[in-house]
Amino acid sequence: MDFLTILQILDSTVRLATPLLLACLAGLFSERSGIFDIGLEGKMLAAAFASAAIAFVTGSAWAGLAAGIGASMILALLHGVASITFRGNQLISGVAINFLAAGLSVVIAQTAFRQGGRTPALTGDARFTEITLPFADAVADVPVIGPIYANLISGHSILVYVALLIVPLTWWVLFRTRFGLRLRAVGENPAAVDTAGISVVGLRYAAVLICGVLCGIAGAYLATSLSAGFVKDMSAGRGFIALAALIFSKWRPWYALMACLLFGLLDAVGNRYQNIQLGDFVIPVQFMQALPYILTVIILAGFVGRAIPPRAGGEPYVKER
């Protein structure tokens, strides 16, 4: 394995980790506020469809991004209404949202485009193209550092950089602002927050809607950047891998980045090599695909570093009368 191959694998790691990272941070906001969200997958899928459809119609990737965020926020609002206002089961609501997105995206795509539930391929400005950072071409010939800067750091879609910037932003919001303190408190002990005269419902809705925005960017990235258009079930379980990464990172932003890069790397390696030969032993590609889930179960089992979710997670808050 030479230097260039490693660079290529790392490059595709970054690309594949981006949607995971955005969805993972989305889940982070929601779950830190005490609202479990297994509907990340559905919100991402709905956003992927909406962004691809609008980007195709308008020819603008930015309009697509806005539509994707909008679609994802509608589903996030639905999740909020079901789990905050009507105090329903958050897990069941998440399951419903996943199916709703999986069904509606194909039904509407079939009606609008008649291409068997996909959108037409996006070209030109309807996609987020790769941007070249300053001096990337100039330093490309410098040994080692040059290719790293030109291939790995430069040359991604703007959404990749946005996703990477959201990591410190999330950390700052959650751990350095009053809003973040309250958000974390409402996920641990909503009664205390309520006693302090702060709206539990308001905070949770805010968290769920932020989750919607981030899932929307993740979905738009899938359809307008990673690929060129929407196809049925294109999120392909990424929402669940993001959920796994969230648990893996124990609900912390910087660890989420690490977990998503790790899972992205597994995906990139799995895409590149069908089977990996280690001496006489062959690691099948299916094992690589299952590895994120296996690792998450091990972490969940608490044998290697215990993952403890926010204490009030999954429980509707009922004001005492």
Partner: protein
Amino acid sequence: MDKMPKWADVILIPLISVILALLVSGLVVIFIGESPIEAMQIMIRGAFGNAYGWGYTLFYTTNFIFTGLAVAVAFHAKMFNIGGEGQAALGGLGVAIICLTIPWPHWSVALLAAVIGSAVFGAAWAAIPAYLQAKRGSHIVITTIMFNFIASALLVYLLVNVFRVPGSMAPETARFPEAVHLPNASQFAGFLGFRPSTPLNVSFFVAILACVFVWLLIWRTRLGYEIRAFGHSETAAVYAGIHPVKIVMVSMLISGGLAGMMAINGVMGEAERLVIDNVQGAGFVGIAVALMGRSHPVGVFLAALLFGALYQGGAELEFEMPAVSREMIVVIQALVILFTGALDNMVRMPMEAFFLARHRRQEAAAAAAAPNPKPDAAHTGAPAAQREE
């Protein structure tokens, strides 16, 4: 305590929820420019119009009864088994191993062995998440989701590398021997017009037996009582001497076993070989079925029939109305889960208010009807009114 009569809780609320789900589905059909009435007619005709439709409807129903019962049993212990998909896939593996490795003399013996084998494999796949929930407190929903993905990867690996017929490209097992062929509806109910190609087979009766089994288990055995007690209140159950680890393990093993048994219908009864993705989402439909059927076997049966009809009718719908994609079924399924599960309180709260108000009015009317109440009548009336608070 009871704000509503039992019939309202058991029948009225699920019915209203399902009607709401169907109304919203109708709006979706209008939105894509077709007539919902016509779509409904096509679906009903496609599902129940002839023996061909019935064969597929009841075939799907059989699948959904198994997965619905699986989710229902876990619900009684207040656990959400979202892993029916993976457990059913492993059940298929169990059926394939049993049918391919042992030369069975007769299908009936093979069926019995396949029922046990599929249940054991399904239960085994549920065992690890159950153990982690019971002993380590890992959330069962997350672990069962993860196990669905692991099961799918495992099955692809096994079908590609272990069970594939040498020389064949298709990732599937060899065809099961003729001896384990289950009689299909044309053989035991041919007089009803079922064709030899119908997928409906004797597994349907196994599914009905499973309904009876679950009813007996939950409402007529000590274990069932313990499961329900645990589901209502874990602390109270523990105080009453019920062992939480045992209940979590046993109810999840039964749940996984029921999900696994789905494979006798699809794998042994219809495909007669194990193929990739033999479950086709039935594990998830089980969630909608259990929610709609209020986790009661009779409700699960009726809900499974409705979803069986939706799946078969939906296939016909796509054929006759090309503008409506087959995914419309997934939308309806999602809306049923949403309204009967997540938005249950949206229907329940106004209904409770309605019945409470009606009850109060009746009492007020009863009090007004008696112009000069005797002291003892007033005496018995007062505590009753208090109880309603």
